[in-house]
Amino acid sequence: MADLSVKIGSVDFKNPIFTASGTFGYGTEVSDLTDISALGAIITKSITLHSREGNPPPRIVETTGGMINSIGLANIGVDQFIAEMLPAYKFFETAVIVNIAGSTVEEYCQVLKIIDAVSSNIAGYEINISCPNVKEGGMAFGVSADTTARLTERLRKLTERLIILKLSPNVTDITVIGKAAQEAGADAVSAINTLVGMSINHLSRESNIFTTYGGLSGPAIKPIALACVHKLASSLEIPVLGIGGITAIPDVVEFTLAGATAIQIGTANFRDPDIGRKIVFDLVEYCKQDKIESFDSLIGQVRVFQ
C-alpha cells in the first residue's frame, strides 16, 4: 500500500484527508454514519472563551454549487469543550486539531492556554482569523498582515503544538497574510475560509441570511481556493492545508498538485458525513493504479505553462 502519511511541523498524520472546522461538529456527532478513525485528522468547530449562541436564523441557504452559512461561531465554549470533548478524544484513533476563535488577541491566547494546559490528546491548533459572519474578531484579524503577525507571535510563545493559521480569501493578496503568519512562527496555514456572499429571496424580497452577508462554501469556490493554495504554496516555506469545495479524489489530487500538504473536507460532509472515509479508501486505490509510492510526492507538482 502507498504511503499516505504527511508531516506538518513535527507532527505525522496518517493521511492528508482532514475534516474542516464547523462542518464536522466536534467529531463525536456522526459515529453512526462514518468511521472517523479512517481520517488523517478532524478539526473541531471553532472554540471561543465563552459559549456563543451564534447568529439568529436563517443561517443557511443553498446557491449554485455552494451554500452560504452564517452560524456566527456558535459553540460550547472552552470550559464545556474541556469537560466533555477532550476526554472523548482520548479514544479517537485519529488526530484532533482544535480550532480557536476570539474577538481579541487576548481571548485567542486565553483559550489556547486553557486547552494546552490540560490536553495531551490533541495535535495542535488551527487559528480562525477568517470567519466572515461575526462582527468582532474573525475576519478583522485575517485581513491585516500586522494583526496576523501579532496574534501568531503571541500564540507561538504559548505552545509547542502545531499552530496553523486559517486564512481568508477576502483579501487583495493572501500571500501577504500567509507570509506574516510564517514569519511570526506559524507551522502551517490553511486556506481558504468562506467568501463573503449574499442571497435574496426574490419572492419575499428578504435576505436569506439574518446577518445579510454570510460565508460562501462548496464546489462553487473550488477554483478560488485552488488559486489561493497555489499562490501560498509558491511563496511560503511552511505547509499549506487546502480547503474549498473538495468532494472527491480528483479534487484531492488537484489541491495536492497545487501545493497542499493536506486537505480539509467542508460542505461535502453535510451531504455525506462518510465522505472523508470514502476518499481515504479511494486514495489508496488511486495510488495503486497510478503506481504512486508516497502520495506526498505529488505536492506542488502541477505543470504550469508559464
Partner: protein, 263 residues
C-alpha cells in the same frame, strides 16, 4: 441514523404541485421510525445543489417509506422527474417524533400546507388504534387539498381563498373543536405563522400539545448548527451548542407547546 440507497417504487402527482413518492428503504423502514421524524434525500448527485433535501416521513408500510412533497424549487422539481426503478440515497430516520398524549385526551391534528405529511401518518396510526381524534387541514386553495372532508371521521378542510372547505385559516375550526370538546391535545405542523397562531390559541385555552417546525438545514444530523429555532425559555440543555437555540434536526422537529418563540 442510517444511510441507505432507496429504490423508487412510485412517484406521482396527487394535487396541484403536490407529489407522493414511495421508496423501498428496508433498513430505515425497520428502524422504528415514528410520525414526526424526517429523512434527508440526495435528489441529484450533481453538485448544482450541494445539500440534501429534508422531507417528513408521511408513512411507512413494510419496507416502503413515503413522503409527500410540494414542488417549489430546484430540488423538489427535480425530484418530481424521478421514475420508479431509479435509486436515490436517503439518510434517516432523523429527529424526534410526536409522543402520544395521555389516555383519555382527544388529539386534534392541525396541518398547514406541507405540514400535513407527518400528521397524515399520525392520523393513520390513531385511526388504527381506534382513538377518536380530529384532523384539520389548511391550504391556500382547494387544488392543494388531496384529503377529502369527512365530518363523520372528523376531517375538516379550510382554504385561504374559500374555494374548498371552510373559508379562512385553520384557527376558527380548531376553536370550534375546543368549544365543544373537553380534554383535547394538539398536534400541529405547518408554516411558522400557523404554528404561532396555534400556540396562541392553545395558551388562551390552556391546552397542551406538540408543534413540529421546519428550518433551513445543511446537514440534518447535528453537525452544522444551521437549523436553529429560538426557545422561549432557554434553560434546557440540548443538541445546540448554546441554550438559547434548539436544533430542529435533533431537538426537534417536534417541540412541546410553549417551548418555541415565534416572531
Amino acid at each position: 441514523m442510517i444511510t441507505e440507497t432507496g429504490l423508487i417504487t412510485s412517484n406521482r402527482c396527487i394535487a396541484r404541485n403536490l407529489w407522493r413518492l414511495e421508496i423501498e428503504v428496508p433498513e430505515i423502514a425497520y428502524a422504528q421510525s415514528q410520525p414526526g421524524q424526517f429523512i434527508e434525500i440526495l435528489v441529484d448527485v450533481t453538485w448544482e445543489r450541494p445539500l440534501r433535501c429534508p422531507m417528513s416521513i408521511a408513512g411507512i408500510q413494510d419496507n416502503r417509506l413515503s413522503i409527500i412533497y410540494k414542488t417549489i424549487g430546484i430540488s423538489t422539481h427535480s425530484l418530481a422527474t424521478k421514475q420508479s426503478g431509479e435509486t436515490i440515497s436517503i439518510i434517516g430516520p432523523l429527529g424526534n417524533s410526536f409522543s402520544i398524549a395521555g389516555a383519555g385526551s382527544i388529539p386534534v391534528l392541525v396541518a398547514g400546507g406541507v405540514g400535513l405529511p407527518p400528521l397524515l401518518w399520525l392520523h393513520q396510526i390513531l385511526t388504527k388504534q381506534n382513538i377518536t381524534h380530529y384532523l384539520v387541514i389548511g391550504a391556500q386553495t382547494g387544488e392543494e387539498h388531496f384529503v377529502k372532508t369527512d365530518q363523520h371521521k372528523n376531517i375538516y378542510l379550510t382554504t385561504d381563498d374559500g374555494s374548498l372547505g371552510r373559508h379562512g385559516t385553520v384557527i376558527p375550526v380548531v376553536e370550534s373543536i375546543i368549544d365543544k370538546t373537553n380534554n383535547i391535545y394538539i398536534y400541529a405542523c405547518g408554516p411558522e405563522a400557523m404554528l404561532a397562531a396555534v400556540q396562541d390559541t392553545a395558551f388562551e385555552h390552556n391546552i397542551g400539545g406538540q408543534l413540529s417546525t421546519e428550518s433551513y438545514m445543511a446537514c440534518g444530523f447535528g453537525i452544522c448548527q444551521g437549523c436553529v429555532v429560538k426557545r422561549r425559555d432557554f434553560k434546557q440543555a440540548d443538541h445546540s451548542y448554546n441554550l438559547r437555540y434548539a436544533l430542529v434536526c435533533q431537538d426537534g422537529p417536534v417541540f412541546n407547546m410553549g417551548e418555541l418563540y415565534f416572531g
